[in-house]
């Protein structure tokens, strides 16, 4: 039960590790950004999960006495989503410029070209 009860948090950890692994392991700069996106998105699930209260509804005041979910983490994560969008778009813009300058977006080929430059 304990494990199932923490289902959201398990998903958070698995997604986070998947994303992190992609960032480290892939050589393709776009795939790295995809990994980074998954990594950031996993944190959204963490925040959204912790604001949710079992049986809680959206925090709109109605006459009946009900349990409300905590809206603050959800609002916070809206900001983080914006940050994530900005990061991804800036990253993609950089990749476009790298492609123009190097003719490739593979990290090892870029590294090889840089090594030739410094010789």
């Amino acid at each position: 039960m304990q494990i199932l009860g923490h289902f959201n948090y398990w998903i958070f950890i698995i997604l986070m590790m998947c994303g992190f692994y992609m960032v480290i392991a892939s050589d393709n700069l776009i795939k790295k950004l995809v990994g980074l996106g998954i990594f950031q998105t996993s944190v959204f699930i963490l925040y959204i999960s912790m604001g949710k209260i079992t049986g809680g509804t959206a925090p709109i005041v109605i006459d009946k006495a009900v349990v409300y979910s905590n809206p603050l983490p959800h609002v916070l994560i809206l900001t983080a989503i914006v940050v994530g969008v900005a990061t991804t778009s800036l990253g993609l813009a950089l990749v476009v410029r790298i492609q123009e300058a190097y003719g490739t977006i593979e990290a090892d080929e870029i590294l090889a070209q840089d090594r030739d430059d410094s010789l």
Binding site: T79, A80, V83, L90, L94, I98, I110
Partner: protein
């Protein structure tokens, strides 16, 4: 007006940033950026004066009471950091316009965007420092980080693009870790206000969630401040960024990350939890020592002088973290005063290099042969910065090294004190390599190099002279640092 200074500190550069983008390229955009950054400096100076005279300032954003609203809280440490960031921001913004713009890989009509990014970066760094809200720290951290990636990528060398990309990946991982840490703290305490967090954390500090939050925040800030071995993004980013950007980031960005770390460890988690329960000092001490030695050694073998200074920055960050790991007033005073002194040192060195590379084309060692005679003022500023980096008496660098050694001896850590002295000698070696080439190698035949224009020399010398001034009058750099250190350790403010 005076009551709203903490808000204006952030709002002025924030509002000026989009304004710059709307102004025509050339003088107007630059003037707007310079005015905004000097105004920010003026506000920071007023804030520091107020804090020293009347104690900490608490400013409620929009009048919402804490802990619901966002509080801007300025105490001795904040005010001191604001002054560093704003002062460097203003001086770097005054660095000759035409020269700076010439070195960007942007078409002329896009130049105003450079100033927009610069002001946004300044906004972010000032915001991190002034705010008393944990989530606000993350937001400003990302504002400053995203704009600094953009600033680095406009360097003329194509490697600047790759450096900016690498920094983007590392920086985002670091910021996301900080975000997770803040989220875990919120779930345990239900608050984001730093003062409120500090009050509520002891009750739950035994839980695994708080420990995980502590770990995430430690690693996140360690990436941001480029603590060895998480410094890999730094050397390339500083080496290929345009010189003024390198001067600005080297002097402020990592310093502000160190501030975030100090704030979280000392104010939010508390000394007891951070250093007795979690024993963080036992991790920071070896990492900072290894960082100092290895980065200094690597710096000796660089032929790109900007890269050399970047590695030297990693070593200097090691000194600052060494002071933190001493967990004493003397150690913290050393760290905090080194934040100030190193900002002056690296600011002046990178700006002097900016002058050199403007005249000789690149900041590579072999290109600098003989520039000591053809550019005496520029190299004079470089030598003063270098002496201060080494920690020669009568320079600012000496003050922080002195406190660091006093702190180590207080603890009875003789080997650490000896190591600090020995690694200063490594700094002598790498600074000497530049001095030797610049002064004692003959200039190549037929190459006429002139002194840098005054528009570059004046800001460079302003920082170089500050290195000398604050080596003699230590009431600001060491005096306020001591106050801030006592505040962090919970003593009388």
């Amino acid at each position: 007006m005076i009551a709203h200074l903490p808000a204006l500190q952030v709002v002025i550069p924030l509002v000026s940033a989009p304004l710059c983008a709307l102004l025509p390229a050339g003088r107007p955009a630059w003037l707007a950026a310079m005015t905004a950054s000097w105004l920010a400096f003026l506000i920071a100076a007023l804030l520091l004066y107020q804090v020293l005279a009347h104690g900490p300032i608490s400013y409620l954003m929009g009048g919402w009471p804490v802990p619901w609203g966002i509080e801007y809280r300025v105490d001795a440490l904040n005010a001191y950091m604001l002054l560093i960031v704003a002062a460097i921001g203003a001086i770097v913004a005054s660095f000759g316009r035409t020269v700076v713009e010439q070195r960007l890989s942007l078409p002329v009509n896009k130049h105003p965007w450079f100033y927009t990014a610069y002001l946004l970066c300044l906004t972010g760094l000032l915001g991190i420092t002034v705010t008393g809200d944990a989530f606000n720290v993350f937001v400003f951290l990302e504002i400053s980080a995203l704009s600094s990636y953009a600033l680095i990528s406009v360097g003329r060398d194509r490697r600047a693009l790759v450096a900016a990309y690498q920094y983007l990946v590392m920086g985002t991982v670091g910021a996301t870790f900080i975000l997770i840490g803040i989220g875990l703290l919120y779930v345990m305490t239900g608050t984001l206000n730093m003062g409120d967090l500090a009050a509520r954390l002891p009750a739950v500090s035994g839980t695994r969630t708080v420990r995980a939050a502590f770990a995430f925040l430690t690693v996140g800030t360690a990436i941001k401040l480029a603590l060895f071995p998480l410094h890999l993004w730094l050397p390339n980013a500083y080496a290929y960024a345009p010189s003024p950007v390198a001067a600005f980031l080297a002097a402020t960005a990592t310093k502000v990350a160190i501030y975030v770390m100090l704030r979280f460890f000392f104010t939010v988690f508390g000394v007891q939890f951070s250093f007795e329960t979690m024993q963080l000092d036992k991790i920071l001490l070896p990492l900072s020592l290894v960082g100092i030695v290895s980065a200094s050694l690597v710096a000796i073998f660089q032929t790109n002088v900007k890269r050399m200074l970047a590695y030297s920055s990693v070593a200097q960050i090691g000194y600052m973290m060494l002071g933190v790991s001493l967990v004493s007033v003397a150690g913290l005073t050393a760290s905090i005063s080194h934040l100030f002194n190193h900002a002056l040192i690296k600011g002046s060195l990178f700006m002097a290099l900016g002058c050199v590379s403007y005249r000789v084309g690149a900041a590579r060692l072999e290109r600098m042969a003989g520039v000591g005679r053809s550019m005496p003022w520029t190299m004079g500023a470089f030598v003063i910065g270098g002496l201060s980096l080494i920690g020669v008496p009568l320079t600012a660098g000496f003050v922080s090294k002195w406190y660091l050694i006093v702190g180590a001896l207080e603890k009875g850590w003789w080997p650490v004190a000896v190591l600090v002295l020995a690694t200063s000698l490594l700094a002598v070696v790498y600074i000497w390599r530049v001095v030797e080439v610049a002064y004692f190698k003959p200039a190549p035949e037929g190459l006429k190099v002139r002194e840098a224009p005054l528009a570059l020399l004046i800001p460079t010398w302003a920082l170089a002279l500050a290195n000398l001034y604050f080596g003699l009058d230590t009431s600001l750099n060491a005096g306020v640092a001591r106050l801030a250190a006592q505040g962090l350790l919970g003593g009388a403010p």
